[in-house]
Amino acid sequence: MAKNRTAKALKTILFYAGAIALCAPPLFVFVWMIMTGLKTGVQNISYPPEFIFMPTLENFRAVFEQYNFFHYLMNSLIIATLATAISLVLGLPAAYSIAKYRQGKIGILILIARMTPFVSYLLPWYIIFRYLKLIDSYSALTVTHLIITMPMVIWLMVSFFESMPGELEDAAMIDGCSRWQSFLLIVLPLMRNGIATSAIMAFIFSWNQFLFSLILSGPQTKTVPVAVYNFISYGKIDWAGIGAAATLIVLPVSIFAFFVRKSIVQGLTMGALKD
């Protein structure tokens, strides 16, 4: 018995040691980022780094006042929301038909579009959007973000749709539904978790997207990751400003993800097991 208990305790200790080892590096970076935002410029470049200091919110104020950060936050919000919404509206039916009619080839094609290095899109896109006079427009950024968000939605949702028993739709069709009605009234309500997961993932990926915005945005439509990048100038690097801005960028998605973490975990493990 005693031996058993020791083994169990050892297992628990090893589990938590492993968990900490895995979580520590990203958490350290996270904490470092927040601390940077709370320190003054001088404190940030002092060596050895100070871990105990008087936190200041001055940087956060500066970010909003000097850099018009609120405008960029709104830009990011608009683009990420639009990209997520469009990829749900188009991606859900697409994922459904890939799952339902076994269109694996189309699925792969979509995946290829996602896997192609984004840099290779940039030049043609820049040329096209310049001709269309769409550089520095929400539409250009939203459309380009779809290449990130749409495959996200489709690939997550395919496994959700595949896990749904076909008899439910059969029942709906016999009850009087058309294909569309059964999709809208029966299938989608049952996919709430999956839709929430894919929407959050799509939103986060769009929110964090840097490269497209760097090339295709302008003063009007600059998104937050690009705005932060502009804190780095020839003369100096505003570490405190970057820390504060980065914290502000991460904050909304972190809070959001915290509240829906259950459905994300469920969503990401879905399809692995049929119940």
Binding site: E167, D170, A171, A172, M173, I174, G176, C177, S178, L190
Partner: protein, 367 residues
């Protein structure tokens, strides 16, 4: 209400023929049971009637209407599924009313019909619950209810009882039979369970490898199977089959199985004539094997000597697994006064008039 006619119905999945030239007619208000082992095409046939599976060729009529190209929703049918297929996000009331709501029935009419179905099935207390809060039997009732409220021309049942435990299944069998009488509806019921078929059906349609083997009222199918498959499928425990040869002797035809030889009744003679000396399969049901009656006429030639292998007591009856040389037989007989022991010698009489002889090549019934 309506009859259902299938004409030369074929379903192929790539190279596999699931339903092979199936023609049958289910009469108005009839309880028809499509029975067969799994993979025999019965569910595919049902799904084609429902419109859930495209037809490769052939025609389906419901009433006088050719429904081949009609959507399921326009066929005026209701279906009860094996896994109930209740909508998990709706409560029982919404589940029952969904079909009516989608067809834009007025609210009052929906409420009235849901009430009526709940009355019939005794599920009043469950109306506000979600499917996951129900037991298997309750779910089955709700699934039945969802079909009833629609008042369709034809009810389709796809193995509705196979997920229930044995006791509940027996109860639901009686209930569905009652429901059929009450609704006076045409029902097509698919099952792999021959007991369900025998107990519930007005007529049984037996399928095997995509083709219809025999149609008839339960007792007819039991007493006069069309071929060896039907004979083995209907009846529990299954019929015993023994390879044998037909031989003509002075007074009669004999079925010679090597280890034993039994005399065929005179009534069989005409049918056996063309098979003289041929290889056949002799079939005898377990319930047609009884312990030897010493008072019986010794010239009947229906007695054989066997050895008991396993004896299983059911109560009033016993199963006896017999070996007779290389042949094994199952007998279902009345429990004798003297307990049978395993491995003892036992003489048994066969009820020869109830036995069957099948062509070994074609498997068709000779007699």
């Amino acid at each position: 209400m309506a009859n259902v006619i299938l004409k030369n119905l074929v379903k192929r999945f790539n190279s596999v023929t699931a339903v092979d030239d199936l023609s049958l007619e289910v009469h108005d208000r009839e309880f028809a049971v499509l029975v067969g082992s799994s993979g025999c095409g019965k569910t595919t046939a049902l799904r084609m009637i429902a419109g859930l599976e495209p037809i490769t060729s052939g025609e389906i009529f419901i009433g006088d209407t050719l429904v081949n190209d009609m959507d399921p929703k326009d066929r005026d049918i209701a279906m009860v599924f094996q896994n109930y297929a209740l909508y998990p996000h709706m409560n029982v009331r919404e589940n029952l009313g969904f079909g009516l709501k989608i067809r834009k029935f007025p609210k009052a009419e929906i409420d009235a019909r849901v009430q009526e179905a709940a009355d019939i099935l005794g599920i009043h207390d469950l109306l506000e619950r979600k499917p996951k809060e129900l037991s298997g039997g309750q779910r089955q009732r709700v699934a039945l209810g969802r079909a009833i409220v629609r008042k369709p021309k034809v009810f389709l049942f796809d193995e509705p009882l196979s997920n229930l435990d044995a006791k509940l299944r027996v109860a639901m069998r009686a209930e569905i039979s009652k429901l059929h009488r009450r609704l006076g509806a045409t029902i097509i019921y698919v099952t792999h369970d021959q007991v369900e078929a025998m107990t519930m059906a007005d007529r049984i349609f037996i399928m095997h490898k995509g083709a219809l083997q025999q149609t008839g009222v339960p007792m007819e199918v039991y007493a006069k199977p069309a071929n060896r498959f039907v004979a083995g499928f209907i009846g529990s425990p299954a019929m015993n089959f023994i390879d044998a040869t037909l031989v003509r002797e002075a007074d009669a035809w004999y079925i010679d199985a090597g280890e034993f030889k039994v005399k065929a009744p005179a009534a069989f003679n005409a049918r056996l004539e063309p098979y003289a000396g041929r290889q056949v399969v002799f079939g005898v049901r377990p319930e047609d094997i009884a312990a030897h009656d010493p008072a019986a006429d010794a010239r009947a030639g229906n007695t054989l000597t066997a050895r008991t292998d396993v004896v299983q007591t059911l109560g009033a009856e016993i199963f006896v697994y017999l070996t007779c040389g290389a042949h094994s037989l199952v007998a279902l007989m009345e429990a004798p006064e003297q307990t049978l022991t395993e491995g003892q010698r036992l003489d048994v009489d066969l009820k020869m008039v109830k036995t069957h002889v099948f062509d070994r090549e074609t498997s068709q019934t000779i007699v």
